[in-house]
């Protein structure tokens, strides 16, 4: 994979990755969901994992969250090779996962949700005051805009719920936080709030793994982008050095995708149209029909085809 080599390890001379995956593979029956995945996450770094549907992002998250153990390969946490057989083991290591559907209990208030499963007890009874105080200090650190921690989570907005879910992941003092699509289904302002939150996690020195379909979010907060394609690594970029188009081409598989096919078809047809003026109307109709056929139908510039053919070795 030529693209990966282009990325230097970020100041690896002094820092050790907090989480390091080597050759991780996972199959479900006949389907190889992940093949030889390598990934490093450093403290105080936001790594975005991007990829199309079916690229293996969720499987990777589930391996790290302890939902499914990997078939082969090693996971190192703080330099130690670890097994993550259960969600509890993942949490105990210091990996906090915020799932896409938040997993909050709507009928409980914010404090109860934050400390769910980790309640502070004083003898047999719950220490509500301690929990409420710690909730406030945590939410203040994250500059969260929650008016009261004694209201049911059901009455919070989407962004506030996401904030509670992320804040909850920090209760166990994790070193890595995995956010699965944290901005999906959020409004503009709420998305900005969550992105601020991600930056604050980085400031706290946590390694953040961000799964997102939203390139704007990725480019806004991530330090590195790891691209998965059909269950394999397909590029690892520093966000500062990479263009939107390069990421998209790595996600979709560069030269062979609906975008480039459309671009080349367009080129061929327009050439044909030039040669044969009568065919112009039919080719225009096809050009309009083409975008709806593919998932990536965003109006990409034609220079997406300019990507090196060498990236296609693992197509």
């Amino acid at each position: 994979m030529t693209m990966e080599s282009a990325v230097a390890e970020p100041s690896s001379a002094t820092r050790e990755p907090v989480l390091s995956l080597r050759g991780v593979s996972k199959g479900f029956g006949a389907v190889r969901a992940l093949t030889d995945i390598d990934l490093d996450i450093y403290p105080g770094e936001v790594v975005a994992i991007v990829g199309d549907n079916g690229a293996g992002k969720s499987t990777l998250v589930k391996i790290l969250a302890g939902v499914h153990p990997q078939d082969s390969g090693t996971i190192k946490f703080d330099g130690q090779i670890v097994n993550i057989p259960t969600p509890t083991a993942s949490r105990a290591l210091g990996i906090a996962t915020v799932f896409q559907d938040l997993a909050l209990c709507d009928n409980l208030d914010v404090v109860s949700n934050l400390f769910l499963g980790r309640e502070i007890v004083h003898g047999v009874s719950l220490d509500e005051e301690e929990m409420e105080q710690r909730s406030w200090s945590l939410l203040r650190q994250l500059s969260a805009k929650i008016p009261s921690v004694r209201i049911a989570v059901a009455s919070l907005s989407g962004g506030q719920r996401q904030t509670v879910a992320i804040a909850r992941s920090l209760i166990g003092e994790p070193s890595v936080v995995i956010l699965d699509e944290p901005t999906a289904a959020l409004g503009v302002a709420q998305t900005a709030e969550v992105l601020n939150l991600v930056e604050r996690l980085r400031e706290r020195g946590l390694g953040v793994l961000l799964i997102s379909h939203n390139m704007a979010d990725v480019q806004a907060v991530a330090d590195r982008v790891a691209v998965l394609r059909l269950g394999r690594n397909n590029g690892d970029f520093h966000v500062a050095d990479v263009s939107y188009e390069e990421i998209i081409s790595a996600i979709t598989g560069a030269t062979d995708n609906v975008v480039t096919r459309r671009a080349s078809a367009h080129a061929v047809e327009s050439a044909a149209a030039n040669a044969e003026a009568t065919g112009a109307s039919s080719s225009a109709a096809e050009a309009v029909a083409a975008p709806s056929a593919g998932a990536v139908a965003e109006p990409l510039p034609n220079n997406a085809t300019g990507i090196d053919d060498a990236t296609e070795e693992n197509r």
Binding site: A103, D106, N107, L108, S125, E129, E132, K145, P147
Partner: protein, 418 residues
């Protein structure tokens, strides 16, 4: 509270710093907050308390004996057995499950008590322990079936209803009815044990004092943690109101036989379960599982353990209720736990304000609900109306309670608090 209009945000308690919060203070604030809650659809036990008052007024007008001390003492004694069963129903409803077999399990416990005391000559304590253990074992079985095979609790307990009714008949044998020895202490306890007035008064004072001190201690802890506290005047008013109500109730009941021991046991069980539900990790887990099983599981709660403990508690409460019922009637028979026991226990929990859909409710709904049901039953009996009317009216009240539950749910949704 040090809230004055000139303080800076940093001086406010940690939970009052958000400028969007409408701040309320003192007694007026408490009243305002209460009104706001009710309007937002968080009715709590308000509808059932109002309903109880309306029922009392109606029956008192129709028959002046309804609120007589004698009738009220009978009422409390009738509440104890089915009310105890209803505590268990509240627990399973909080998980969003149901137990339809509580009637059969209570009948089975009664049969074990009867046969144990009369035919096997067991000491009373042994018979009680065996009956309770059988109840717990049944709950454990339900829990295992539910968590291992994922069979809906509705079906499991429907099967249990039939199976344990059969077991009850089997244990009772061909006679079908066993009279309990009248001098055994459990019968004495359920029929003719009443607290001496001084003890009842002392208990009322202790209850009000406990409420006051727990509130004061909580306020102190909150102040120490830098959080806002309610006004002392509100605490004081609450405690004094409770004291006055309890003293009046005790004094009025004392003009007849007084406070029944079995009713006291039931109320104590309600208070204990309320503590476990609201102040322990287990209780918090019960509400979490009732709200969202998946969220609870991901939070690391051992969901299966919660289901199993709740089913065990429910069947054990059912067994205990069956023991109290048979002791009060001094007999264990084919009809023990039959008839409307099952449905009254479930209706009491729902009428009391526990949601059928899980995650909302309180142990006190067993107490309030059973008071409503027994008041209706007792009032209609006083009016010489037969059970056909009683069933219909109880059914209508249950329907009303569920409608209020649904309406308040809709109100919560429209106020963004569903």
């Amino acid at each position: 509270m040090t809230n004055t209009s000139v303080e800076t945000p940093a001086e406010r308690a940690a939970d009052l710093q958000d400028e969007r919060l409408v701040r309320t203070e003192g007694v007026r604030g408490a009243v305002l907050a209460f009104r706001q809650r009710v309007r937002g659809g968080d009715l709590g036990s308000l509808p059932v308390v109002i309903g109880l008052i309306v029922i009392c007024i109606i029956f008192q007008v129709l028959n002046p004996n309804f609120l007589s001390a004698n009738n009220l003492v009978n009422l409390t004694l009738q509440c104890a057995a089915v009310g105890t069963i209803s505590i268990g129903i509240v627990l399973v409803l909080l998980l969003g499950q149901i137990d339809l077999s509580v009637g059969s399990v209570s009948g089975l416990a009664a049969a074990i008590l009867g046969v144990g005391l009369t035919q096997l000559k067991w000491p009373v304590a042994l018979a009680i322990i065996v009956a309770l253990l059988v109840g717990a074992a049944i709950g454990y079985l339900y829990g295992l079936l539910f968590t291992r095979f994922g069979v809906p609790s509705f079906v499991i307990t429907l099967a249990g209803l039939l199976a344990f009714l059969g077991l009850q008949l089997k244990i009772l044998g061909p006679n079908g009815s066993i009279n309990l020895p009248y001098d055994s202490w459990i019968v004495q306890f359920a029929t003719s044990s009443f607290l001496p007035p001084w003890a009842a008064y002392a208990l009322a004072v202790i209850a009000a004092g406990a409420l006051f001190f727990s509130d004061v201690m909580r306020a102190r802890r909150r102040r120490k943690a830098g959080l806002s506290t309610g006004a002392l005047s509100v605490t004081l008013i609450k405690a004094i109101a409770l004291l006055v109500v309890l003293l009046l109730a005790v004094a009025y009941l004392a003009t007849d036989r007084g406070l029944g021991a079995s009713f006291l046991l039931f109320v104590l069980l309600v208070i204990i379960m309320n503590f476990f539900l609201t102040r322990t990790r287990w209780g918090r887990s019960v509400f979490a599982v009732g709200g969202s099983v998946e969220a609870a599981r991901r939070a690391g709660i051992k969901v299966n353990r919660i289901y199993i403990t709740v089913f065990i508690l429910c069947s054990s409460f059912a067994a205990l209720g069956g023991l109290l019922a048979s002791a009060r009637l001094t007999s264990a028979s084919l009809s023990s736990g039959g008839g409307d026991t099952n449905l009254n226990a479930i209706a009491a929990a729902v009428i009391g304000g526990t949601s059928l859909f899980g995650g909302r409710g309180s142990a006190y709904s067993a107490l309030l609900g059973i008071l409503v049901i027994q008041s209706i039953s007792s009032g209609l009996t006083l009016l010489n109306l037969d059970s056909s009317i009683r069933y219909m009216i109880t059914g209508a009240v249950l329907l009303l309670a569920v409608i209020i539950d649904s309406l308040s749910r809709r109100s919560r949704a429209s106020h963004g608090q569903a």
